[in-house]
Symmetry: C2
Subunit: 481 residues, 2 copies
């Protein structure tokens, strides 16, 4: 923890010992040297600082008198006072929840992925994000240029968000998805994740069951885990979630579903299954949380309408976002639901962050009302489909006879399942050594599996090809054992 | 709740009874007719819809068969199934916390203010926000125009936020405030409120004491209340908080302070008091949360440096924002603290909303690095000072002999204290009837007081004059009784 990569300035008017005092004080104040850390020996410090040992002694004495350092029992000197560090050393509630439960084993992989995604040099073949190459630079330039005329000011907004955006979104939901909502049914959030957060805070009791498809994107559901919910995976078939596995007594529960281009399997829930699920939900008073992040990214044919469009009993809360279709950095999502629910979520949102950025909300409004978003989506669908076809061709070449996979009709994901049980942790680290970052299936599942989530949306096609070749080589190595 | 402001279409191919079924189904599905609501009598519905009673009976029967309506025990028909409403009717944890504690009495006033602030037609003389007249339209136009060249893409960002903004803020804190921090000590948040929220989730235990100045802006601290903290007001004098009133045993506690241009009293903590408070905090291992929202809005002389600048023991977490100095709609705030703390808060932020809007963060970066923000601040200080002087002149004319007030050296607020105990609730509602929205002192205080927070930042000067005249008339009426 404690590294001495600094030397005092010899020709400074400030005495050497004083420079050392200030250096150590700042390190402790910044929290870089945490409380309880042991300092190097006086001899080592003298050497590292390039000063006499007596200079170090003088500095230590001053720092001890300030209460910043203390003499250790077994000799040596330790950092004594850094109030915040003290406070931090006590494990807070949220971390206990995260550590408990089925995520435990998965966390190190997720953390590694989160960290490595911000390090250059890896080909990322699992990233659930559009490639920067697909960023609609021209469109956004046009929109940004219009902002000065569009934005009247940047004051505080009401609980539901920018009214102009609420109107644009409710019109879009009515026209494109047949969802009957008005502006008072729409709450703007900072992405869908915040909507999940608000729902977990406002509506669910600790210990409530949250049913999800298995596999699903558990990372985005950590918010439920953290709030003490009991996550339960429900198996799927080709038509979607097998809802009949849900317990008859599902009081106080919630079902979170991604019915269209599901993450990570790409599955589309059939129209029949949607209607059955809604009947089941109404009969069991089971609220449904429909995440439609990928619904607009269809290739050849529109998927069935959103669950919310078939909902006649007010069972569904619908979540939308542009994080997957355009730009996560806008941090714009929306909840469509009954007025009372939306109002309540909005009130709590006001207490946590006073609403989403109005700059982002104006940009989004302009994207929708100018028609620019729809033109963009049309082009994006074509490009994503090309990327999908390219990925499928490589998979056929590289993984035939070793794995099977779905042919997604939209969205980002191919769920690549090896035919045999393979050591996925080793595959992850071998791939990493070869410069390939994969998203292994166990971070999506309640138990182990032999799958990998492939995203054709992020990596450049030629890089995807290179990475899939590497991955198939690694797979083969273990497959043949 | 249930209003029948709709009629079926007589010449539609859809039978009348069916149109009524769909109408009521949608009302219930949208949550507009909540569960348990009683429908009007069949006779009244027949009249309102302009149909025969038998048509209403047919529609009711169908809706009852769907489980949407049910026959009431005492006759009549009620809304039966709306799954979300059912769920909502159970009081969730957060609302229990908000209802308990010292806010109880204040809530109705705060709620009224929150609602009325979005209704036109009131002169708002307490609003803690810059007037739209002060919105730097030209500057922001310039900045928006530059966005296309500045923004590389709008992908996900790391836990601490946009690195370019972290660098710009840490440089600013070093240069302008003498706070020794680097980019790794800075976390970008969606305004200061989110920082408070993260701190309450990550660092404080239920039942921990949170000390604040009394009075303070309690509304912004509801987040601590909601999380079950025990709020304790500490009295102030002209030099700031009288910290010696804090219990010697303040383990697990936190002190939240606005040392500069305090909200609502305008007080500036003296340099001596700052140093004493830091000594006290270090000695008692009491962490300090310094909210410096107004610090850059000084008029004639710079205020003392931030507490964080004098902090040699790592006791202070510093909160900054542009919500008060420029535009709350940007939703940009920052935390400056020890690396370990900032990293932890950032991790939790990633779990709640994946970070602040990158559009806003780029706008802010450009504002800081272009020098535009500083030029703007210089002009703003002059304008705010003029508004202050204007407000003081009116107060002298209208309230002499009835009330006293501070002369703020920066920030937004004048704390107007009546010399006698007056019925503040009546003054609030009388003012409202005359079109003036005031922020009565009891929403800032732990007990009652005879004060009103006047903000010279929001209302137009001539409107402020008009409103203060009205207020003094109302005050006089009660004062003389």
């Amino acid at each position: 923890m404690i590294e001495l990569d600094w030397k005092p300035t010899k020709n400074s008017p400030e005495p050497l010992y004083r420079q050392i005092v200030v250096y150590i004080r700042d390190k402790v104040a910044a929290g870089d040297w945490v409380i309880g850390s042991r300092l190097p020996s006086q001899r080592d410090m003298a050497e590292a600082f390039g000063v006499n040992r007596s200079t170090v002694v003088a500095a230590m004495e001053e720092l001890i008198s300030y209460g910043i350092l203390e003499s250790g029992y077994g000799g040596g000197t330790r950092v004594k006072s850094n109030t915040w560090s003290l406070l931090m050393s006590r494990p807070p509630d949220w971390s206990e929840y995260i550590k408990s439960g089925p995520f435990r084993a998965n966390l190190p992989t997720i953390q590694a992925i989160n960290r490595l995604e911000f390090e250059p040099g890896y080909i990322r073949i699992g990233t659930g994000e559009l490639s920067p190459d697909l960023y609609p630079e021209k469109l956004l330039t046009k929109i940004f240029r219009r902002m000065p005329e569009v934005v009247p000011n940047l004051g505080y907004l009401g609980a539901l968000g920018l009214p102009e955006l609420g109107r644009a979104i409710s019109e879009r939901l009515r026209e494109k998805q047949g969802i009957k909502v008005g502006p008072s049914n729409i709450l703007i959030t900072s992405g869908s994740l915040q909507a999940l957060q608000l729902i977990s805070v406002c509506m669910l009791k600790r210990g409530s069951a949250v049913y999800t498809e298995a596999p699903t994107y558990l990372k985005s559901l950590q918010v439920f885990q953290s709030a003490g919910m009991n996550m339960i995976g429900v198996p799927m078939d080709g038509e979607g979630i097998k809802y009949w596995h849900i317990k008859d007594d599902c009081k106080d529960s919630l079902l979170y579903t991604i019915p269209t281009f599901q993450n990570p399997t790409g599955t589309v829930m059939s129209e029949a299954r949607r209607k059955e699920l809604l009947n089941f939900a109404a009969g069991h008073r089971l609220p449904l949380l429909e995440d439609n992040a990928y619904g607009e990214l269809w290739f050849d044919a529109r998927p069935p309408k959103a669950l919310k469009a078939y909902d006649t009993t007010g069972s569904v809360i619908y979540l939308g976002t542009v994080s997957k279709t355009m730009a996560p950095g806008l941090r714009i999502g929306w909840v469509a639901g009954p007025e009372a629910v939306v109002q309540r979520l909005g009130d709590v949102k006001m207490q946590t962050d006073y609403g989403a950025s109005s700059v982002s909300q104006w940009v989004m409004t302009e994207l929708l009302t100018s028609g620019g978003y729809d033109e963009y989506l049309e082009k994006l669908r074509v490009e994503l489909k090309e990327r999908r076809d390219y990925a499928l061709a490589i998979l056929k070449e590289e993984f035939s006879g070793m794995a099977t996979w779905n042919v997604p009709e939209g969205g980002f994901y191919i769920w690549l399942r090896f035919d045999r049980k393979l050591p996925m942790d080793k595959i992850f680290s071998d791939a990493l050594k070869s410069g390939v970052l994969i998203n292994p299936g166990n971070i999506y599942d309640y138990g182990e599996n032999n799958a990998i989530r492939i995203s054709y949306a992020y990596a450049k096609p030629e890089e995807l090809k290179k990475a899939l070749k590497i991955l198939s080589g690694i797979g083969e190595k273990y497959y043949k054992r």
